[in-house]
């Protein structure tokens, strides 16, 4: 594919009083894992919902696979898989039923059993979603996002609120999908996660991108400019603190 998978320029999203996104630019290259990193309220969810065609931007342009929402909606949707922050599945449907339903929305894709297997939920496939743990629910969301064999995977805070083990598991699944050649756009407020999973990171604060680049480059740049602690390796957390003067609450 030529050109970026996602291209956002000058994105503004204003609600009555709040400006959720305030002139944001980013582009996600095909095949990379791109992270939106920022604290709660930074504008990550709003940006993602504009990108996946759920919200109309107040200003700015969004292109996915080089196409715009509006005319090409159905085409974009069939090539993209999304997991939203806080989406909750029907309690009394089984894992298999939910995945089969999502699979039926797409023109092509793996079988529901294969999808469930990919996210390691085979043993739970006959279980109602209400009986799943937080990590299992998030993996179910991932299976649904993968249902159409997507080129682009968009995951809004896939690991928020999970215990470390569950977060590692989701992280491995994300990396496995990137290694299969999928493009991934994810948001997180965990620094170490962005560092570990993402090829490039946009640090978002108050609706704007305040730093953009490979995690190692961002950390390296920091090393040249400020006093580096020799005991502890510098992290993205330090990048954020040096840029904003604030610490990022890591829950």
């Amino acid at each position: 594919m030529t050109g970026p998978a996602v291209d956002v320029s000058g994105l503004v999203k204003r609600y009555r009083q709040v400006t959720a996104v305030d002139g944001l630019d980013l582009s996600v290259q095909a095949g990379e894992c791109f992270g939106l990193l920022g604290p709660n309220g930074a504008g990550k969810t709003t940006t993602i919902e504009v990108i996946v065609g759920l919200l109309e931007p107040t200003a700015g342009a969004v292109r996915v696979f080089g196409r715009t929402w509006g005319r090409d909606g159905r085409d974009i949707r069939s090539r993209m898989g999304v997991a939203l922050q806080e989406a909750r599945f029907p309690e009394r449907l089984t894992v298999r039923e939910v995945v089969t339903q999502f699979r039926s929305f797409y023109p092509k894709g793996p079988s529901p059993e294969a999808l469930i297997g990919q996210v390691g939920l085979s043993e739970k496939s006959a279980e109602w979603t209400v009986r799943l743990s937080g990590g299992q629910r998030q993996r179910l969301a991932l299976a649904c996002a993968l249902a159409g064999d997507p080129e682009l995977l968009v995951l809004d805070e896939p690991t928020t609120g999970l215990d470390p083990q569950a977060r590692l598991m989701i992280g491995e699944l994300v990396l496995a999908n990137r290694d299969r050649g999928r493009t991934i756009l994810l948001s997180t407020h965990y620094m170490e996660e962005a560092e570990r999973l993402c090829d490039r990171v946009a640090v978002v604060d108050r609706g704007k991108v305040i730093a953009l680049g490979a995690p190692s480059a961002l950390i390296g740049a920091l090393g040249r400019e400020s006093v580096v602690e020799t005991i502890r390796r510098a992290t993205l957390e330090d990048v954020y603190v040096s840029l904003t003067g604030r610490r990022l609450r890591d829950e």
């Binding site: 919902e49 996946v52 065609g53 759920l54 919200l55 159905r74 949707r77 069939s78 993209m80 999304v82 997991a83 939203l84 806080e86 989406a87 909750r88 599945f89 029907p90 009394r92 449907l93 039923e97 939910v98 089969t100 339903q101 999502f102 699979r103 039926s104 929305f105 797409y106 023109p107 079988s111 529901p112 649904c144 249902a147 159409g148 968009v154």
Partner: protein
């Protein structure tokens, strides 16, 4: 991938999931089966005997001459006569447990509320009994032939009303509530990021609803037949057609109710706004003829009135589909208008 086409048909999958969800909700089962059945049984028993007012509860006030008056009244086998002191007698009359008080004396005084039909009947019965006991002879001999006509009892009136109520509840809760739940859970949003067609989404709700019509009607009909001998005078085909038309209209209204609401409180308020007045105004429990004439045309165009009237027409009068076409037309107009408006207003994300 040689998969059965059903598996990957979005509309079929969505309908299947709606069914599974509904059938796995104990609350839903209660409101669909148990509650109407309980209502039918409770009201059917309470108003057994055609909801006939009971004019037989006559109380003779314990006073001079009470014994003679009571004896005279007792000669009419249809009267249940009690003798009580004045205070207790008045309390009974106020509570509606006595139809009339008879106060011995000259003249004998009848104390009753002329607005209560059973009291008026009791007055005539007691008067006649006293006059006959005192020697009046009726110039014309009459004989009585009591009949209990099936189809004219209160339970016969009630069952079509309960069916209509069930179909209305199924539509507004089964669609209105369910869609708003999906909106609150961000499931609607999530599904909109897939190539799912919006048309299929709405259609799945409507079709899933229509498939519930037998579940919402047949058990209640069977119960009413088994316990009270309520039968259907018209054809089952006509009954099915009317039920489907009603379910369709309320599916539209349910979709309209769900079109903008973003919280369960709002949708619950809207649902109550639709259903509670209907219970009173649409002739579910008592005939709409009790309302003044000038509001009758208004009541007739309410969706539940049209549905209940048509169900009653088929069940008690044996009406054909053609005979209830005015009601079907009303339901059709409601379906059309509510769906069009819902589509216009619907908040997708």
């Amino acid at each position: 991938m040689n998969e059965p086409p059903v598996r990957y048909n979005a509309l079929i999958q969505m309908i299947l999931c709606r069914w599974r969800e509904s059938l796995r909700q104990p609350e839903g089962i209660f409101w669909t089966f148990v509650f109407p059945a309980l209502l039918a049984v409770a009201l059917g028993v309470a108003f057994r005997g055609n909801a006939r007012p009971d004019p037989s509860a006559v109380v003779v006030v314990q006073d001079a001459g009470a014994e003679a008056v009571a004896a005279s009244l007792a000669r009419d086998g249809g009267l249940k006569v009690d003798r009580l002191p004045r205070g207790e007698a008045d309390r009974r009359l106020r509570a509606g447990k006595a139809a009339i008080l008879v106060i011995p004396g000259d003249p004998v005084t009848f104390r009753f509320d002329p607005d209560r039909p059973e009291s008026v009947l009791a007055r005539h019965a007691a008067d006649g009994a006293l006059q006959r006991a005192a020697g009046r002879r009726d110039p014309v001999a009459v004989a009585f032939q009591p009949v209990t006509e099936q189809g004219s009892r209160y339970i016969d009136f009630l069952v079509p009303g309960l069916l209509g109520m069930n179909l209305m509840g199924g539509g507004v809760w089964g669609i209105g509530w369910v869609i708003v739940e999906m909106r609150i859970r961000k499931l609607l949003k999530l599904q909109l990021t897939t190539p799912m067609r919006r048309r299929d989404f709405l259609l799945s709700h409507i079709l899933a609803r229509l498939a519930f019509v037998p579940i919402e009607t047949v058990p209640l009909l069977l119960l009413a037949r088994g316990l009270f001998g309520v039968s259907t005078a018209g054809s089952y085909a006509a009954l099915a057609a009317v039920s489907l038309a009603g379910a369709f209209a309320f599916a539209g209204i349910g979709t309209l109710v769900a079109s903008r609401a973003q919280s369960s409180n709002v949708v619950m308020g809207l649902i109550n706004l639709v259903t509670l007045p209907s219970f009173v105004l649409s002739g579910v429990f008592f005939s709409t003829s009790r309302f003044p004439d000038f509001v009758q045309p208004l009541l007739r165009v309410l969706p539940l009135t049209a549905l209940v009237d048509a169900l009653r027409g088929v069940m008690t009068d044996g009406a054909s589909v053609a005979a209830v076409s005015p009601q079907l037309l009303v339901l059709g107009v409601w379906s059309l208008l509510s769906f069009l408006l819902a589509l216009k207003l619907f908040r997708w994300s």
